[in-house]
Amino acid sequence: MKPTRRPRVAVWKFASCDGCQLTVLDCEDELLALAEAIEIAYFPEATRASSPGPYDVSLVEGSITTRNDAKRILKVRKQSRIVVAIGACATAGGIQALRNHADVADYTRAVYAHPEWIETLDKSTPIRNHVYVDYELRGCPIAKGQLLELVTALLAGRRPNLPVYSVCEECKRKGNPCVMVARGVPCMGPVTQAGCGALCPSFARGCYACFGPCEGANVHALDAALAKLGVGEEDRLRAFRGFNGYAEPFREAAEALNR
């Protein structure tokens, strides 16, 4: 049965680059069907027209980096039936979580002419550290296919197919020869969550873990394998301390390398 009322969807931005929101707009072929299936009630990146909550689904992009945002996310949660954190910032703190391993004041002094005007938290944290999150879409940016899968699953009231296993499984299903085994190219695929369709290895590049750690990621075993391929400590540290560097166990792997 068709629902009598289209679900009302809001898209929120916190500390982020807008790339994940753009992925929503990037659903070009499906955009008309999407707009028919859901009501975009609040999405400043796409339209000035907005209507107040409550919302059935809130897609939340970005991490929490200011006191104000820490309060704002509580308001988002209050007006939303389902909260979906989208992208590496919202699910792991993003690249801005590099500050979490350093002194944020050093960064503000280095970047801003008037660091005294900057009011920011010491740490960049994922949405789930602040409110209950119903679903997470990984990636920097998120994968269009996963976004559509989530929306259609929510519309149908079924569980979305969001695998937590490694990129290797998608890579092998596609029939890509492993770049690490066949060419000695460092690849984060074995510790990275699937969902991108093994995008980088499909172009003979190593995965750089933008989807964050997969379930049971054995970072120490991969680190040893990368070292064997001749990847130096500094580069291995960078490999783990990328967009998802604040997510365990990448954080732990990086800390072990930074000692």
């Binding site: 559509l148 519309l155 296993y165 499984e169 690490m180 074995p190 379930e215 049971g216 394998a225």
Partner: protein
């Protein structure tokens, strides 16, 4: 393990320059040739249009966790060892649509997606590959649980084997009794010969279909010298096999060491990435996913390869049974080398060595099983 064919074999010699006639004969009979070809940096099985796509003059060096193409100066078409793909990809594809449900008003119509797969000729299968197909035949073909999709693909596939002339460092088919010489279960079997008699193939037919194709080829009579040369090729491959797996009583060794602390040591090295299960030519686990469209009027059920290294693989009410990597590795190897025998009357391993070469951290099934055997705790009397 290999299905033997009691019919008398017909054999003949095909000049290497006429190998193209084999592909033409297959195409004329409606079989799309699928053969070894270089994709990226590995030899994989893919649809090929002509012999120029075969990896002529290409060999490889394989070690645990490493595979490298290497040029050969002898121009052999099949001078390579196994790559990551096997016949499994074509007989039991990684992603397959099973059915589609379409809603029209108050009605729901279910359309089975059981179009017969295209007729293909799988070229270049090795003895271990044929053994793996024979195993999957049992897994998918045994009554009453016959898999119609596998059966249809299997019936539409012509198996063209090639005898190995060399072995990779990862090969251990001799231990598993599956090779290196092809025993049976093929439609045609080629042995690539390269000696004073020239670059040629000894072609043997193993079925009626194979006979028919062989009759189409511009062959000459096979002499005793050709057969001797073919045996020498297999002997060379046999002599190059260094890896061993002692299968004697292995099932019991695995069973009685289920709680051995060594599993944790393997678990520390294992990535649980699933690569071993996906390159394995006999691993048959799959899951199904349902995907609906935005209108909710169309839902498709797809079968995709799964792996026992996934947490969700062992999910039952209340949680997953195997949460640790050690437990998942133990499950895989104990099933493959042990429980499989009870289930299907054969080991699940054919000794192809793919899981060894394509493991990113180079975990070696022969080494792990051997290590466990060396630490085997003698059978303990069962306490009260």
């Amino acid at each position: 393990m290999v299905i033997s064919d009691s019919r008398p074999e017909r054999s003949a010699v095909l000049d290497a320059r006429d190998l193209g006639s084999l592909l033409e004969a297959l195409q004329l009979r409606g079989y799309g040739p699928v053969g070894p070809t270089i994709v990226g940096d590995a030899v994989v099985l893919r649809p090929i249009a002509g012999v120029d796509e075969l990896p002529s003059g290409v060999g490889d060096a394989q070690e645990p966790g490493s595979y490298r193409l290497a040029p050969r100066d002898d121009g052999r078409f099949f001078g390579h060892n196994l790559g990551p793909s096997s016949a499994k990809r074509f007989l039991f594809p990684p992603v397959r649509s099973l059915w589609t449900a379409i809603r029209i008003g108050p009605q729901v119509r279910i359309e089975a997606n059981d179009d017969p797969p295209p007729k293909i000729a799988l070229i270049g299968l090795r003895a271990c590959d044929l053994a793996a197909i024979a195993i999957q035949d049992r897994v998918f073909g045994r009554e009453p649980y016959v898999d119609p999709h596998y059966q249809a693909a299997r019936e539409n596939a012509l198996l063209i084997a090639v005898n190995c002339s060399q072995a990779a460092a990862t090969c251990f088919c001799a231990s598993m009794g599956t090779g290196p010489r092809v025993g049976g279960g093929f439609d045609l079997c080629l042995t690539e010969l390269l000696d004073a008699g020239g670059h040629r193939f000894l072609v043997e037919a193993g079925s009626e279909k194979g006979d028919q194709v062989l009759a189409d080829l511009p062959t000459t009579v096979a002499t005793e010298r050709d057969r001797r040369a073919a045996r020498a090729e297999s002997d060379r491959a046999q002599a190059q096999i260094q890896r061993r797996l002692d299968t004697d009583g292995l099932k019991d060794v695995l069973y009685r060491n289920a709680e051995h602390p060594y599993w944790n040591t393997v678990g520390e090295r294992c990535l649980a990435c699933g690569n071993c299960t996906l390159v394995c030519p006999t691993c048959f686990c799959a899951t199904v996913e349902d995907a609906s469209d935005l209108t909710g009027d169309r839902t498709e059920r797809t079968r995709i390869w799964d792996s026992c290294f996934n947490l969700e693989f062992s999910y039952i009410h209340g949680g997953s049974v195997r949460t640790s990597t050690a437990a998942r590795y133990r499950q895989w190897i104990t099933h493959k080398l042990g429980a499989w025998i009870e289930q299907f009357g054969t080991s699940g391993c054919v000794g192809c060595g793919r899981c060894i070469a394509w493991c990113p951290v180079g975990i070696d099934i022969t080494e792990e099983a051997g290590r466990l055997r060396s630490e085997d705790r003698a059978p303990q009397p069962v306490g009260r």
